[in-house]
Subunit: 190 residues, 2 copies
């Protein structure tokens, strides 16, 4: 299961389930989503597998915190996952299906409305990543190739995300332009 491996990677430093949720909302949010109701049972399972150990500590505010630590075995599992090659799963892009089936409606205006909404959705995702990139670049103005390992790898991920999301926006723009010209043509002929 990928989620377990991702959580192993995030547990480089000890953390509670609640801490991990925050991490999912900050960094991985852009490539992986997980709710608390999934995080807690997963941590328990990983502890049973001896990839983690946990201790409870009082919290300054609120109830006791259960803090998890990666074991040597957990680290080995993580490294094996990384050495096992890139995990590229099947995509599930419902919006592509929607776009195809708009063909059946035979109304370019609806296709156009759909594409414009899609573009807005994609644009808001891009903003977040671009500001993350700018933030990293401002912290250290040298070439990213000179940064420390962690910052460098974070940069690679953000940078790849930015490129893909920009391409999605341009793809929307092209589709919108094509559909508009189709709409104009349709009106001319009617």
């Amino acid at each position: 299961m990928s989620l377990e491996h991702i959580m192993l990677g995030m547990l480089r430093r000890p953390a509670s389930g609640y801490d991990l949720r925050k991490q999912f909302e900050e960094g991985p949010r852009h490539f992986w989503a997980a709710r608390l109701s999934q995080i807690y049972p997963t941590l328990q399972r990983m502890e049973r597998s001896r990839w983690l150990t946990s201790t409870t500590t009082p919290s300054p505010r609120g109830p006791q915190r259960r803090v998890y630590r990666r074991t040597a075995e957990g680290t080995r599992v993580l490294r094996r996952w990384l050495a096992g090659g890139a995990e590229v799963g099947a995509e599930r892009l419902a919006w592509v299906g929607q776009l195809i089936f708009f063909g059946e409606l035979r109304d370019p205006r609806r296709t156009l409305r759909f594409l414009r909404e899609l573009r807005r959705t994609f644009a808001s995702g891009l903003d977040l990543l671009e500001s993350a990139e700018h933030h990293l670049r401002r912290v250290d103005r040298r070439s990213p190739a000179r940064w420390d390992h962690d910052a460098f790898h974070e940069f690679l991920c953000i940078r790849m995300g930015v490129r893909v999301r920009r391409a999605r926006l341009r793809a929307c723009d092209e589709a919108i332009a094509l559909t508009s010209s189709r709409l104009r043509r349709g009106r001319d002929e009617t």
Copy 2:
């Protein structure tokens, strides 16, 4: 559930579960995957919901075929889905997590090996889509904006896929270049 809506869209013409599997392997393969063991129960559920009706007909070779047809209610459900706006679900990109966690290994050569494998994986997905685009363009050499509705919408989907996949390749290339320069620098300083 998106799968049900996608299957509604595919059932513009009557088809059996076995036929749908073939459709999934041709077009939607690039954006949605479904196995027979998921397709059959889903068709049964949709029939119970009265989105489909089925009849059995003998097959020229092999056992009886159960052919499903969309009902008026099914068509209404599909249109409501399309009118309900773009469905952009949370992404689950395990490879991005892997790339981040390579930071912990502190060895650019392993990062580089990973990125090169990733590039190969992405490249093979692009080939399929590009040949699909060329095929469509060869069938009708006018601007796609002049094609019939179905061909036009299929083109839009393929075209968007091509753009995004090309961006992924370029993103890999950039990451490989950055990591290589980092590797050279590391060797110089050692």
